[in-house]
């Protein structure tokens, strides 16, 4: 095992002033030489990382170091060992100092010596010393004890220094600025964070009272109560605006802690300052956001109350049903009453429960939202209509539940019902006077009461056409009202498209002939079964055919064609050679009261195509057109091929 390097830079012959402990080794070694009357003595201790510390009498420390290299501590390290021979030397060689042989050696090792160490007090002589008695051994041991005290002192000092260094390090890296001050609040020290925060170096501020650090000088006096030894608020944090060296200011949060001496007297203060500008801003923003949230919650609550709309959630993972306040109110239930999914369905009639359950299940299974309008009975027995919309609750791409809203639409339903009733009554009531007008005109126009002058015949014709148009308009309004109210009942069956087209052609042939237009059909040989309500499809095609006839010139032909669009779709087309649909009408051809032809020319109600579209779509079909100016228009409807099982 290599020995520790001997430190050559220390010279204990000239006691150092700055480290009294170094002198201790010297004192002990000189005391030893005098006490035991030996010419040569050495004290050595292991000084940790600094190496061996040696003091010597009668030789230089280098010589002592050299001598020590020849030595070895005896097996019993705790005893004073005296040797008149070379038994303390390594390998039992004779001990020498320079060229001189040493005839006497004694050592009192010290207890906290290092292993294998030489720590202790060593005595040497060039002569034999046979008179080294027990008292001298005890004295030597006492000297070693003094040396031990020195070692302990040094270690304690080391520990203190380390602790102090650590403390300094901690203070430097603390995110808070630290300011040490005397009882008069004069700065005695500051850490690096202080410099970073205020822009002053520790040297610049040392000795100044802290007044200059406050943005408002009166704050220095105002905060004095925190720096009064008798005050109870001493360690309460306070916020105050500080000024940096560059003049800018910031909001700091400060805690002042008194520093006391052993007697409990305040000898100064330690102030910690944190820049809380960001923290305060975040706090304010949080408060503001919270306030906004509260307001928007209040608004939501208020508007949902006005709209009579409530929200709910069903969590598949927990089976829990959560309702908004308003949803409980709509059900006339106490707010917050726990509910199972089954209980939420009990407000509906059994058949509607199934529909609702099925819609929710489908939302869960497929993620498709659903909307239903259903009658329900509240907890207190009041009947109302509600609109229920369900949407999937999705987390990480998985449906984990259903959310939805539930709106009381009773008033809406009543208003819609009243409107429909009004339209229906008005339309029917119009028919009675219209019957009289149209009937009278018809009789006169048809010269039942005698021949009319030519001009009278013309105007009677105009009157007759327009009463007919009025009658048609009433029919269409009633149709639309029925479709839009959802009261239209369709009887979907499997029917042959070709057969329906033939019937439509037959029904409209007279009208075509009167207009000088040829009506021709082109249907496949095999039946083309489609799933439709034949009467309604007849109505749709009649409308398309009559439009086609109206836009055709004399001797033109209108074609009715049935063909397979694809193996699954059958298309029924009505093709004319008319002027085509002007570009500006194409986008809104199916809207109500859109007329491509001037209304005075070949009058229609403006509702026909809108009705045709609604009817077609309710039969799960599609409607469309291809048109080209001066080449004509093909209006078409397409329906899925009926599969054999779906008949009836």
């Amino acid at each position: 095992m290599p020995r520790k390097a001997f430190r050559a830079d220390r010279n204990h012959d000239e006691p150092s002033s700055q480290a009294p402990c170094k002198g201790a080794l010297n004192h002990i070694v000189q005391l030893a030489a005098r006490l035991f009357d030996v010419p040569l003595a050495v004290t050595v201790i292991d000084d940790g990382a600094a190496g061996l510390d040696i003091a010597a009498v009668g030789m230089t420390t280098d010589e002592a170091a050299h001598l020590l290299q020849q030595l070895e501590l005896p097996a019993d390290q705790h005893r004073v060992t005296v040797a008149d021979d070379g038994s303390l030397a390594r390998d039992e060689k004779p001990l020498t100092l320079g060229d001189e042989p040493l005839r006497f050696a004694a050592v009192a090792p010290i207890i906290p010596g290092t292993d294998p160490g030489l720590d202790g007090v060593w005595l040497f002589d060039l002569q034999h010393r046979v008179d080294f008695d027990d008292q001298q051994r005890r004295d030597l041991q006492s000297l070693a004890a003094l040396l031990e005290d020195e070692v302990i002192l040094r270690r304690t000092n080391d520990q203190l220094r380390r602790a102090h260094r650590n403390q300094e390090l901690i203070l430097e890296v603390m995110p808070a600025a630290l300011l040490f001050a005397d009882p008069q609040r004069r700065i005695t020290g500051a850490n690096q964070t202080f410099t970073d925060m205020y822009g002053y170096s520790a040297e610049e501020v040392r000795g100044r009272t802290t007044e200059f650090l406050y943005a408002n000088p009166e704050d220095f006096a105002r905060t004095a109560r925190h720096y009064n030894p008798d005050a109870t608020e001493q360690t309460d944090p306070y916020r105050v605006e500080y000024r940096r060296k560059d003049g800018s200011t910031f909001l700091g949060e400060t805690i002042g802690v008194p520093i006391c001496d052993d007697q409990g007297e305040t000898v100064g203060y330690l102030g910690t300052i944190r820049d809380v500008t960001d923290k305060v801003r975040v706090e304010q923003e949080r408060l503001q956001a919270l306030q906004q949230l509260r307001e928007s919650e209040e608004l939501l609550r208020e508007t949902s109350r006005m709209a009579r709309i409530g929200g709910g959630k069903y969590d598949l993972r927990t089976g829990e049903v959560t309702w908004s306040e308003q949803l409980y109110r709509l059900h006339e239930l106490p707010v917050g009453e726990p509910l199972s999914r089954e209980q939420t369905l009990e407000f509906f009639q059994p058949s509607d429960r199934q529909r609702l359950q099925a819609a929710i299940d489908e939302t869960i299974d497929t993620g498709q939202p659903h909307q239903l309008e259903l009658p329900m009975t509240t907890a207190t027995g009041r009947r109302q209509w509600v609109r229920i919309k369900s949407s999937p609750l999705i987390e990480d791409g998985e449906v984990v539940g259903v959310t939805g809203y539930h709106q009381d639409i009773t008033e809406e339903k009543q208003a819609a019902e009243a409107k429909r009733e009004f339209i229906s009554v008005v339309s029917h009531e119009l028919r009675t006077p219209l019957t009289s007008i149209q009937g009278s005109i018809s009789l006169v126009a048809n010269e039942v009461f005698g021949a009319l002058p030519e001009e009278a015949e013309q105007v009677m014709g105009i009157a007759l056409r327009n009463t007919r148009r009025l009658a048609a308009l009433i029919d269409d309004i009633l149709d639309i009202e029925k479709i839009e109210s959802g009261k239209l009942q369709l009887h979907l069956v499997s029917a042959d498209a070709a057969e329906i087209v033939d019937e439509v052609a037959a029904t409209n042939r007279q009208f075509a002939t009167d207009a000088g237009v040829r009506l021709i059909t082109d249907v496949p040989d095999e039946p083309a079964p489609i799933r439709v309500d034949p009467d309604k499809l007849h109505q749709v095609l009649t409308n398309l055919v009559s439009n086609a006839i109206k836009v055709s010139d004399q001797n033109d032909c209108v074609e009715l064609v049935v063909q397979h669009d694809s193996p699954d779709m059958v298309r029924l087309s009505v093709r004319d050679r008319g002027p085509g649909i002007p570009r500006q009408f194409r986008d809104r051809l199916f809207e109500k009261f859109t007329r491509a032809a001037p209304s005075s020319d070949k009058p229609g109600t403006g509702l026909g195509l809108s009705i045709a579209k609604s009817l077609t779509e309710q039969m799960h079909g599609q409607i469309g057109f291809d048109t080209s100016v001066d080449e004509g228009t093909t209006m078409w409807v397409a329906f899925p091929v009926a599969d054999d099982r779906s008949d009836q």
């Binding site: 028919r431 009675t432 019957t435 009937g439 009278s440 018809s442 009789l443």
Partner: protein
């Protein structure tokens, strides 16, 4: 069907203008023997005496409406077998189906054309069996 010749038609309608038009349409244009009544009570009084081959009945009438009158005819010994055609402004499909289900032989929609009313009635008459 010579023994089934349509000759006498009773028209019941509360609107005097419609009654006048119906008379012109059926009598002048159609050549039938026409009698009109303004309500159910008058009809029940006049009809047995007139002995119509067909009754044309308005649906919406004050006091006794067309349906009630139809039922009253059905229970009348002399009138129970007389065919009835409803003539009405309410002639959408469900309503037509309802009238036919009651036992009417046909439904004519208002407004009707007086020039073709007689033909239409004859068509219904002809296919009533």
């Amino acid at each position: 069907m010579s023994d089934d010749q349509l000759q006498r038609i009773l028209v019941v309608d509360d609107d005097p203008d419609i009654r006048r038009l119906a008379t012109l349409a059926l009598q002048r244009v159609g050549g039938f023997d026409v009698q009109t009544c303004c309500d159910g009570a008058e009809a029940l009084q006049v009809a047995p005496e007139f002995g119509p081959d067909l009754i044309v009945l308005d649906v919406m009438m004050p006091q006794m409406d067309g349906i009630e009158l139809f039922e009253a005819f059905s229970e009348h010994p002399q009138l129970a077998s007389v065919p009835v055609i409803f003539i009405t402004a309410r002639a959408q499909k469900p309503e037509i189906d309802r009238y036919l289900a009651l036992g009417a032989i046909g439904v004519i929609k208002k407004p009707f054309d007086p020039m073709t009313l007689a033909d239409e009635i004859l068509r219904i008459w002809a296919r009533r069996l």
